[in-house]
Amino acid sequence: MIKLLEGKNILITGSNRGIGKATVEFCAKQGANIWAHARSASDDFAQFCQHVAEQHQVTITPLYFDLRDKDQMLVAVKLIKASPFPINGLINNAGITYNAIFQMTNEHNIEQNLQVNFVSHYLMTQYIIKLMSRHGGGSIVSIASTAAIDANPGRSAYGSSKAALLCATKALSREVGQMNIRANTVAPGITQTDMLSSMSDEVIAEAAASTALRRCGTPQEIASVAGYLISDHSAYITGQVLRVDGGM
């Protein structure tokens, strides 16, 4: 079997569950070494990393830090810099969700969404690009949402934070192309993760039925697109937003 990500060393944020966890599994299976980020240390997560690493004969290093804390982020970046693996992939995946109508969204909610879904990724990408530019290039993938484009009711704060991420990633792609760094965004539609628990079953079923494929997506189906965009098989794709939404 051809391994898509042989020789790739990737940082994946928010990798202890949902899409992030599936992305760790996919990238490891495809031969990548991984820094798997989670906010807080846990035995379960450490065991998961070790298990996946052994299964696929790759190195997976758990990294624990709070993406809202710049100092903690810089400590993690130092560890990556000091490692024998030159980083050439970054998947900005960590995120929070929030559902409320516009008039019920308070200042705190808006700031929290922007902080976690946008500002933290912006800073992390700045740090990592510095390292990538010394290693001859790389690929950055940001996980946004179709809510960033479709502007769904009740998703103004969340959607805006993801739209900001999408725009930053696209603008970045134009600035760093000459350094052989690519930057793309994945926009998942209805995906079977914990995030869905904030919606009623009725709403989920309706949304799934409205897709061309008539179903929800799985975290694995998002992970494979993110992994593809990290790989050299997408070497001429940059500045794009790939919707993975079953056709909406």
Binding site: M1, G177, Q178, R182, S234, I237, L242
Partner: protein, 246 residues
């Protein structure tokens, strides 16, 4: 990614199509390689690929300016009675001319080849896919369809029609498990560029984020991805592969 899959590829005689056939065979897919006519070189190209990669590469031909000829070719493919996993519609033509110099005859011919024949073939092949309740269709569009390129009225509007078809077919065929996506290449290193003045070509290449022309193999890699199960939740999309233009 596409090992063991049965795939129909049109426009296989040269350019991106020929490279795609090579790439797909290398990855272990069985192919019907459709050209507008069969040359001895093309036939031996197919049989060499077949031997080298231990896959089936069947050369076929049809005239895309003639719907009956396309139907005939589809019948040959369907007669094999094997499940078809993928269809890659690459066959296409352009006749660059400014708007006021574009004749109705040229318009009709370009729409015939790029849209009508492509859709007729898709109609027939997708029936086989509907029976399997699975399949992936990849249409090759162009950035001209969304950006507009002066001098490419007929080509750009025909590719825009194809994009509309992609979105519509994704909806219609989705319940049969068939995915339909478009690829919109930017400036790719093929002989389609021969008619473009060098200064315009260079300007377009240097306007990309990556600052280089795309390779046909890179487009073939995107096709592999869309044919494969790695993109199992992607449908109705138009994906630009342009080195970063818009």
């Amino acid at each position: 990614m596409i090992f063991g899959k049965n795939i129909v590829v049109t426009g296989a005689l040269k350019g991106i199509g020929k490279v795609a056939v090579e790439r797909f065979a290398e990855q272990g897919a069985h192919l019907w390689a459709c050209a507008n006519f069969l040359t001895p070189e093309f036939v031996s190209f197919c049989s060499e690929l077949s031997k080298k990669h231990q896959v089936r590469v069947e050369p076929l031909c049809s005239d895309f300016t003639d719907v009956e000829s396309v139907k005939l070719m589809a019948k040959q493919i369907l007669a094999a009675k094997v499940p078809i996993d993928g269809l890659v519609n690459i066959a296409g033509m352009t006749k660059d001319a400014v708007f006021h110099m574009t004749t109705a005859t040229d318009l009709l011919q370009i729409y015939q080849v790029n849209v009508v024949s492509t859709l007729v073939l898709t109609q027939l092949i997708s029936k086989n896919m509907m029976r399997q309740k699975a399949g992936s269709i990849v249409n090759v569009s162009s950035i001209a369809a969304t950006d507009g390129i002066a001098g490419q009225l007929a080509y750009a509007s025909s590719k825009a029609a194809l994009n509309g078809a992609t979105r519509t077919l994704a909806r219609e065929l989705g319940s049969y498990g068939i995915r339909v996506n478009s690829i919109a290449p930017g400036v790719i290193d093929t002989d389609m560029n021969l008619n473009v003045p060098a200064d315009i070509l260079n300007e377009r290449i240097s306007s990309t984020s990556l600052g280089r022309i795309g390779k046909p193999t890179e487009v073939a890699d995107l096709m592999c991805f869309l044919l494969s199960d790695l993109s199992s939740y992607m449908s109705g999309q138009i994906i630009r592969i342009d080195g970063g233009m818009a």
